[in-house]
């Protein structure tokens, strides 16, 4: 494995410090400081043994901090000498960190921040820039997260589902600053899938790869949002699609279906189609049925209604929509689309305008406004 990036080593180095007797919060702080030094000095002076360098630097940081703390409290320092290095079960350490950082006791934004720092090896500054918040705010968020999980045993993992949800959140946060969070989420999911061998971890990885493959085609000039039907499919990344499909097939073969595998299956059917018209919508609806059985999620019900509209015609889609809660985000957008397909352009225009007012992002709002404007005009004959 090429570990030229110091951040790849971060979870393993935290693990070493914890096994030497450091508590997680202090170990994580010490490794962060060593990492920042590594980022500054390695480009000019690369170490022969990067991991050894990081362990040594972090351990010294930890001892310094512990000594300062001990003298402040007037107590003796218990851990002093550097223990002899033993066999390093880095694999288990890393996996434990995934579970700890995504612990159910943490609110999502804290779990995301802590995961990015302790598992992803990003600096506080990078995480702050990616979330468009001041660095001091992000540092506090991470400290609070660590306080909250202090005392929780490192060896009692939470559920895999929580870890997957945190990684999916990271993936959906996209860009900010100099860090590509989507790519970072893929890197972490790839490692998690390898560490656990769980079909759902593979399913999430496949889902991310298949979505990421379409990224270049999803925005047009000026950040304008391009919907799936209008995307230039020649710009989709076929290497990522091939990998995503292979990962998904491997997961499905294990015959333990879960929501991420089902979502990835839908993404794979889109990725496989030469156009919206040539998409296998019937199979997509079947996957939505599976997904609904797994999650009973109202959002899935909404997306399913749109897929039904494509598979069986707009009236069938509208009938499916009638069973969906109108209070859902994007309900108006889905309703607008189905009414337009059913030929009711006036109603579609009003719904698109309503959807634009309810939009949660500027590109989405502008897109929906443009859709309202488009359907208001008489269709060209």
């Amino acid at each position: 494995m090429n570990t030229s990036l110091p951040r790849d080593l971060v979870p393993a180095v935290i693990g070493v410090l914890v096994r030497r007797g450091a508590d997680f919060a202090s170990a994580e702080d010490a490794v962060q400081e060593a990492l920042i030094r590594a980022l500054r000095t390695w480009p000019d002076d690369p170490p022969r043994d990067p991991k050894g360098w990081l362990v040594a630097a972090a351990w010294h940081r930890f001892l310094d901090a512990a000594r300062a703390e001990a003298s402040r409290r007037g107590r003796e320092l218990a851990v002093e000498a550097e223990p002899a290095p033993g066999p390093v079960p880095a694999r288990d350490d890393t996996l434990r960190l995934y579970f700890l950082c995504a612990h159910p006791a943490l609110p999502p934004n804290q779990a995301v921040a802590l995961t990015l720092r302790a598992v992803g090896g990003l600096t506080t500054r990078q995480i702050a820039a990616a979330h468009l918040v001041p660095e001091a705010t992000m540092a506090q968020r991470i400290s609070r997260a660590k306080r909250r999980i202090a005392g929780l045993p490192l060896d009692r993992p939470g559920g895999l589902a929580t870890v997957l949800r945190v990684l999916y959140l990271v993936f959906n946060e996209g860009y900010g600053g100099d860090v590509d969070l989507a790519a970072e989420a893929i890197r972490l999911a790839r490692r998690l899938a390898a560490l656990t061998g769980e079909p759902e971890a593979a399913g999430l990885l496949a889902l991310m790869l298949l979505h990421h493959a379409r990224r270049a085609s999803r925005t047009g000039p000026g950040g304008r949002l391009v919907p799936l039907a209008e995307q230039d499919r020649s710009r989709w990344d076929t290497a990522l699609i091939t990998e995503g499909v292979a990962v998904l097939q491997g997961a499905l073969a294990r015959d333990r279906l879960g929501e991420y595998q089902a979502q990835a299956a839908i993404a794979a059917l889109h990725a496989d189609a030469p156009s919206t018209a040539a998409t296998d919508w019937v199979q997509i609806v079947e996957w939505y049925d599976e997904l609904l059985a797994l999650t009973a999620s109202p959002v899935v019900r909404l997306n399913r209604a749109v897929a039904v509209g494509e598979a069986d015609g707009a009236p069938a889609g509208l009938a499916a929509l009638a069973e969906v809660d109108p209070g859902l985000p994007r309900y108006a957008a889905a309703a607008a689309y189905l009414h337009e397909r059913a030929g009711d352009r006036a109603r579609a225009a009003a719904l698109y305008a309503e959807a634009a007012r309810a939009a949660t992002s500027v590109p989405e709002r502008d897109h929906l406004t443009r859709e309202a404007a488009r359907v208001r005009r008489p269709p060209r004959s």
């Binding site: 950040g223 007012r357 949660t360 500027v362 443009r370 309202a372 404007a373 488009r374 005009r377």
Partner: protein, 135 residues
């Protein structure tokens, strides 16, 4: 000196040009308007005068405390008559005159038929965080 250029969904002085809401424009007019806004921000980034810009959704409410142990009181969603902020741009420029000049340009974003919409923008100077060193 930093200035806030405040855009309102409604409120402020009477509009000088009556134009329809954006969802009634043509898609090309919408594109031209959005493009103008983006270009304006890009230009200020190049001149070193851009700080930040954000858009606000029309939803939300006024909120106030109702005393200890009681849930906060909300007033909203906003009635049609209320002044409603749509978003802002923060600029860092040398003078009030420059702030006014830029607000004038931003207000001239194209609307239906490519005509400048000439909407009112509120321009407000920031109070600085530190006291002046000359006394």
């Amino acid at each position: 000196m930093k200035y806030l250029l405040l855009k309102h969904y409604r409120g402020g002085p009477d509009p000088v040009s009556a134009y329809e809401p954006m969802d009634r424009w043509t898609p090309e007019e919408v594109d031209a308007h959005v493009g103008y806004m983006n270009d304006f921000a890009d230009r200020l980034k190049e001149t070193g005068e851009y700080v930040d810009s954000q858009a606000l959704a029309p939803g939300g409410a006024f909120v106030r405390s109702d005393g200890e142990g009681r849930p906060p009181v909300t007033d909203g969603p906003f009635a049609e008559t209320k002044d409603l902020i749509a978003g802002w741009m923060i600029i860092d420029v040398d003078s009030w005159d420059r702030a006014v000049e830029l607000a004038g340009e931003l207000s001239a974003a194209p609307g239906p038929g490519g005509e400048p919409i000439r909407e009112w923008l509120e321009v407000r100077p920031f109070l600085t965080g530190s006291a002046s060193t000359t006394e």
